[in-house]
Amino acid sequence: MASDDKASAPAAPPPNLAEALVALAKVIGPEREAPSGSGLVKMLKGLAEALLPSIVMFVLGFIFIQGVELDLKREEFTASAADKLRSYVNDLVASKAETPEEEEELRATALALGGFGGVAAIPLVSIIEHGGDQRITAAKSGLIQAGRVAPDLTCSVIASVVDDPTGAYEWQTRKAVSEVAGLVGCAGAEAPLRDLRPRIAAIDGLTAEQRANFEHTVDEALKRIEAAARRKQGWFS
């Protein structure tokens, strides 16, 4: 009867692989944890403690050396940039621009100088002041370039030339720089230009034609600056 009961009871399902692995882990677990307090771990721990200060010093030293090298490289770059800037200025001053090729070279040099941004603005203004029809035209291109690269610093130089509180510049320089102010859209030059406009008539030594042309240049520059400001507002509104 009993054997009949056994025979009639449903057969137990065979153990799956996951259950078998769990059972195995339980059996061997205590044996795996045993080495935690062993001499090997103690040795490794001691070694790490001994080396830690050296590792920290090494990392800190590496960072420090990298920083110094970066500074040195930056200084080298700045010195090289300063040398280049000086050589471009020399080329612009010395050039005679007698041939079309020399004219192109003059213009390329002025544009390269303008690529230095705000720091090139004062030398470029000085080249305009120095004079020479080809040189002035090239230096104006360079100043426009500088204004595109670094508008804030360049426009600050431009505004000071337009304003010219010490009367240091020739009227031709102020006229040329006023034109650049318009082409760059120097908002900072707007007030000096507005201030200059009625005072052009009082500048000594100008013929009526020169005065009219200067006034026309300032008017055009103001129009351009206003247009640039309107476009800027349009983007943000």
């Binding site: 000086r86 020399n90 030398p123 080249i127 080809q134 040189r135 031709q172």
Partner: protein
């Protein structure tokens, strides 16, 4: 605010560069490349570019002879070129290709009151004389956009005609007289337009018209003869039309001013029906 060291250093270099320029600058502003130091001063100027290419080394004697060749009289304006403008021989300057006279360059030259730039170069057995009429190139070509009159004109001459020396190229040269008269006419017209004083304006209008009339008087002598010498026909026609239109425009300006009409000996109604605005 602290300035980064690199920026400070480059800034110092920039200031040093500016100082180089200022210390190398001459006392007078050297406005016109290749010209003597007095070229930057006030007053209208005629710039004569180096003729070394056609004459070899140019000594003091030849340069004086060249400048002397620029003597010319303007009957209608009752004046002479020497009275109107400083003639400058610029040994370090050559008249360049038309592309070099860009709007920017011409603007600078016009500000510096250059009326005319003249230069000569050899072209095979001929000599080509280039005339750059700065006011025309500045106002008419660039500002007004009249492409038919570039203000850069070339006239071809036979080398064999220059028997007594290079100065004969310019002495009594009809094209040179035409260009100088047109340059002066337009210069006076622009000054008149900008003049606020009515009396001075009337005088300037009169002078401008007189120089247009002198230009008209030179037209016949400069007419191209179809022998490939002298000016190109379309250029000559453009200059002719420009001179006539200028004289007429100034005549209209003058007659629009009642105070000025009384100073004209002959007014429009008294003219014999011809197109000349120069009868006075």
């Amino acid at each position: 605010m602290t300035v980064p060291g690199s920026l400070r250093r480059t800034g110092i270099a920039a200031a040093a560069a500016a100082l180089i320029i200022l210390t190398s600058a001459q006392a007078a502003r050297a406005q016109i490349d290749g010209c003597p130091g007095n070229a930057g001063g006030p007053g209208d100027k005629v710039v004569v570019g180096s003729v070394a290419e056609v004459a070899g080394a140019v000594g003091g004697r030849l340069s004086r002879a060249l400048l002397a060749a620029f003597e010319m009289r303007f009957e209608k304006a009752d004046s002479e070129l020497r009275k109107e403008a400083m003639i400058l021989y610029c040994d370090g300057r050559r008249v360049r290709d038309i592309g070099s006279y860009s709007a920017g360059v011409v603007d600078v030259l016009n500000d510096d009151q250059v009326l005319l730039e003249v230069g000569a170069r050899a072209d095979g057995t001929d000599i080509v004389v280039t005339y750059v009429v700065i006011p025309i190139r500045h106002y008419v070509f660039f500002q007004d956009g009249q492409r038919s009159i570039p203000g850069y004109h070339q006239s071809v001459y036979e080398q064999s005609r220059i028997s007594a020396g290079l100065q004969d190229l310019f002495k009594g040269n009809a094209e040179l007289r035409l260009m100088a008269a047109l340059a002066l006419a337009l210069r006076y017209e622009k000054i008149a337009d900008a003049e606020t004083d009515a009396v001075r304006r009337v005088a300037l209008v009169h002078r401008s018209r007189a120089f247009y009339c002198d230009a008209i008087g030179s037209l016949e002598a400069t007419r191209p003869h179809g022998d490939l010498l002298g000016l190109e026909v379309p250029e000559w026609e453009a200059l002719r039309d420009f001179a006539h239109a200028g004289a007429e425009r100034l005549f209209q300006k003058a007659t629009a001013d009642p105070g000025y009409v009384s100073t004209l000996s002959v007014v429009a109604s008294e003219r014999d029906g011809q197109s000349s605005a120069c009868v006075s």
